[in-house]
């Protein structure tokens, strides 16, 4: 079946024919095949997110050159950033598969709690990390089961789970936090949370996490299936993909990411609070979309979401650093979100 509407390649070239275009067509090398163009096209959303981040940095830099040329501002952001990215990246998978997960803040709280309890009881923090991971993945499967097998709307079911899990934490702890003063002496702390040359080590771990997840998203069977299921679940099912399994696994993955976030959050202040994770709900979600993932499923970007998380995290520090009062923070959140979405609107074409 030819997929060639006309056999005359020149008639398909753009109206404005320059010598180069004619040569390209004559050589049978369409723009599609140029590696640079292909790279740009494949990474348009992520590059868009990068442009937003750079633009924002420029504005802050012009606003207050002395503050924003000092490393301290960036370090402040870098310390908290990995925690956000650990949940934002798995959220890209969930959104791509066509669902949403609003239960991650409570999962961060729960898994951090498990970690704190284990360490408080005198066990090694590595064991605490393991316990947190198991808890996170388990909770992810529970949430996923409600959505995938009990057929509840993910928006509402995960919101309900978020309230319920947070409520459980509050009932059990009665609002009391857990301090772990000995945590900085542990090997785990040195590996995961210390600072070397002014850079938090957690940044190194988050770079690895983002790189591996990006590979899984773009170059792994699971990533392909996440895309296809989010794009057209009926087609995926007809081609023998276990649609429910893929959906369930994305929720489990969010639980896993949330457990890492929960533990890394405790590492920052050697303390777990019953509210841990709560403040990540809206910035976390915003990061996914500021990063260039489409809200309707089927397409997205992992690296873009990490950049989006940086942008969103930087706003708060930046607004205060520029000398504005904290009252401006929310306004700038909103502004950046709306502007990014407008930008991506033009970037993302929705094929049906």
């Amino acid at each position: 079946m030819s997929l060639n509407p006309t056999d005359d390649p020149v008639s398909q070239a753009p109206q404005k024919l320059d010598a180069n275009a004619v040569r390209r067509v004559a050589e049978g090398r369409h723009a599609d095949q140029s590696p640079l163009r292909r790279f740009l096209r494949a990474n348009r959303p992520a590059l868009g997110a990068l442009a937003v981040a750079v633009l924002m940095l420029l504005i802050f830099l012009i606003g207050d050159p002395t503050v924003f040329t000092s490393w301290n501002v960036y370090r402040a952001v870098l310390i908290g950033l990995p925690v956000v990215i650990f949940v934002v990246v798995p959220l890209v998978f969930v959104v791509t598969v066509g669902e949403i997960d609003l239960s991650f803040p409570a999962t961060i709280g729960m898994t951090g709690w498990v970690f704190a309890l284990i360490v408080q009881a005198g066990f090694d923090p590595f064991l605490g990390l393991l316990g947190a991971m198991v808890t996170g993945v388990g909770l992810g499967f529970c949430v996923g089961w409600l959505v995938v097998y009990a057929n509840l709307s993910s928006l509402i079911a995960t919101l309900g789970m978020n309230f319920m899990l947070r409520g459980l934490i509050q009932i059990r702890t009665e609002g009391k936090s857990i301090a772990l003063p000995n945590l900085p002496d542990s090997l785990a702390y040195r590996i995961f949370a210390d600072q070397y040359l002014g850079i938090p080590v957690s940044v190194f771990w988050i770079v690895i996490f983002v790189a591996v997840c990006s590979l899984i998203y773009n170059r792994h069977r699971f990533g392909l299936r996440v895309h296809v299921v989010g794009d057209n679940p009926d087609a995926a099912q007809q081609m023998g993909i276990n649609v429910r399994r893929v959906r369930l696994l994305t929720f489990a993955f969010v639980g896993f990411g949330a457990s890492l976030a929960g533990v890394f959050a405790v590492f920052i202040n050697y303390t777990w609070w019953p509210t841990s994770g709560e403040s990540y709900l809206l910035p976390g979600l915003a990061s996914v979309f500021v990063g260039g993932t489409a809200p309707w499923g089927g397409i997205g970007t992992v690296i873009g979401s990490a950049i989006g998380a940086f942008t969103v995290s930087f706003i708060q520090t930046g607004v205060v650093g520029v000398g504005l009062s904290g009252f401006y923070v929310q306004f700038f959140y909103g502004l950046i979100i709306i502007l990014s979405l407008l930008g991506h609107r033009w970037n993302q074409i929705r094929y049906r």
């Binding site: 079946m1 060639n4 067509v25 392909l224 299936r225 794009d231 099912q237 007809q238 089927g298 397409i299």
Partner: protein, 258 residues
């Protein structure tokens, strides 16, 4: 006896109160082209979706190469060498041509990572094989940018990749130009020559007559007739038979009662 690829026995399918299929027997042997015809809503697509494992029958038995199968699903069907071009094409339109061709049957290396280079190569080869000569589209092109006929090409490319034993084509020529239609027929001929089987659904009786060896006429969820080309004699005989089904003349109605 020739090899029987698949056999359905007394397959029923109901959607709530609606009976889409009310007890259908169907089989496809190695190397034959079976034409499945019937009115709109007769249950043709439902039947082939059951064959393809995309829909579960309410009741009935499925035998693959003589053996009854249980929990028949799309993955099993593809593993058994059955590929289907569905009426709605089953494409993920925001993804590349390559990903559409390989979805559900990815070429993977260590740890389940895709062998992206190999997949792209195979995709380009398939596209050339089915006459996708255009330079405008490459294996990375997004399916949503293709025309209806071109999307159809992707669905067919996917079905022929596996060198499967049975290819099911659900109205493959609707929305195709004459030359494209001719290519589909050429493809069916090639597949038959290679000893593969085809189950072909179409509304153009003359087309179906030309390429099929045997016909199954479906009427309101039941098999009204199974007849070979030799028994039928001409396309017009099939057309008359189907017209008769749609608007029974009083004479035959009486004959039927008697």
């Amino acid at each position: 006896m020739t090899d029987r690829i698949i056999e359905l026995r007394d397959i029923r399918k109901s959607y709530g109160q609606v009976y889409a299929l009310g007890g259908v027997d169907l089989h496809v042997d190695q190397g034959e082209v079976v034409g499945l015809v019937g009115d709109n809503g007769a249950g043709k697509s439902t039947l082939i979706k059951i064959l393809a494992g995309a829909v579960r029958p309410t009741s009935g038995e499925i035998l693959v190469r003589g053996r009854p199968v249980h929990g028949w699903d799309a993955a099993q069907s593809r593993a058994a060498g059955i590929e289907t071009v569905f009426q709605d094409r089953a494409l993920a339109v925001q993804q590349s041509i390559t990903w559409n061709i390989f979805m559900g049957r990815e070429i993977t290396g260590p740890f389940g990572f895709l062998r992206a280079g190999k997949q792209r190569e195979e995709a380009s080869r398939l596209m050339r094989e089915i006459g996708f000569t255009s330079k405008v589209f490459g294996p990375d092109s997004i399916v949503g940018q293709l025309s209806g006929g071109e999307r159809q090409g992707v669905a067919i490319a996917r079905a022929i990749y596996n060198r499967s034993d049975l290819i099911i084509l659900d109205e493959p020529t609707t929305a195709l130009s004459l030359t494209e239609t001719a290519k589909v027929f050429h493809f069916v001929e090639q597949a038959r020559a290679a000893g593969r089987s085809i189950l072909f659904i179409g509304h153009n009786i003359h087309h179906v007559y030309d390429i099929s060896d045997r016909f199954v006429v479906l009427d309101r969820g039941r098999v009204a007739s199974q007849i070979t080309k030799a028994e039928l004699g001409s396309a017009d005989a099939l057309v008359r038979f189907m017209e008769e089904l749609a608007h029974p003349s009083p004479k035959t109605e009486k004959a039927g009662k008697a």
